[in-house]
């Protein structure tokens, strides 16, 4: 049974390589996108930390900024 699934009448190499390429592409795209997301988020948090209290309050009043700061592990 396992042998049949692996070799697939001699087509196993083609079938498995097509599926492997797809899954690897998914993984790579996910990692790249997540890395970019984390990088931008960390940049935002560190920039926010350098603001003086008055500016920080003003920036925090924007709902989207509040969302970014509260959602530290959204993905």
């Amino acid at each position: 049974m396992i042998k049949e699934i692996l070799f697939m009448n001699g087509f196993g190499l083609y079938v498995w390589s097509a599926f492997a390429f797809t899954i690897l592409s998914f993984a790579l795209l996910y990692v790249v996108t997540k890395t970019q997301y984390i990088k931008e988020k960390n940049k935002f948090i560190s920039k926010f930390g350098t603001l003086n209290p008055e500016r920080a309050t003003s920036a925090k009043s924007q709902s989207i900024n509040k969302e970014i700061l509260s959602n530290t592990s959204s993905i």
Partner: protein, 235 residues
Amino acid sequence: MFKYFEPSRIFSITSKAPRYVMLLFIITLAIGLTEALILSPEDYKQSHSVRIMYVHVPAAWITLGIFSSMTFLSIIGYIFKIRNFFLISKSLAPSGLVFNIIALVTGSIWGKPTWGTWWAWDARITSMLILGLFYFMYLVAWRIFENKDSAFKITTIITILGIVNVPIIKFSVDWWNTLHQPASINILSKSSIHISMLFPLLIMTAAFALFSLLIFLMKYNTELIKIKNKGLDRL
């Protein structure tokens, strides 16, 4: 109506959605892979090589769907000056390009046992490669043009030029003599594919669609945070 497309409104949803989409994607992919690799029958002509269809066809469908959506969003965004539509379009592009590459590479792998060659300059394959180039140009244009107005204009032009290629891809197998087989699934007429193969194909398509949604949400959130980063610089 367009106030519903405001970034702050959308961000509250897009920032929470990825974890649920990811979960749904993993479940759907697991079912799809089991169906595609183990449970679905082999083809009487192509034997087990037909299983490549379960990654090749959904990838091709999704890349065409994404490019069509990008064109629609870019045109509407340009006409009504809705900046957020460009952001959505830009966030869709990376997964569109990856699905295009997957369709080309898995098609090439499928071509070897079926046609005896990895590549042929036939109408379907070449037009699909051209679509990939349009995706590439679109993404490069966003990197090149610093001025947002120029980027909006150029990317809209690229999508309009690229969309001309979409019906060519779809009908290339009917218009020309190609190595590529004609469509097995038709919405308006009876499909020539058996239900035992159609089911895994649809499950895999759902999984791929969920993955592109996941990447879109992550990319869209990144783009919004990028804009907010620039906003903090101006404070």
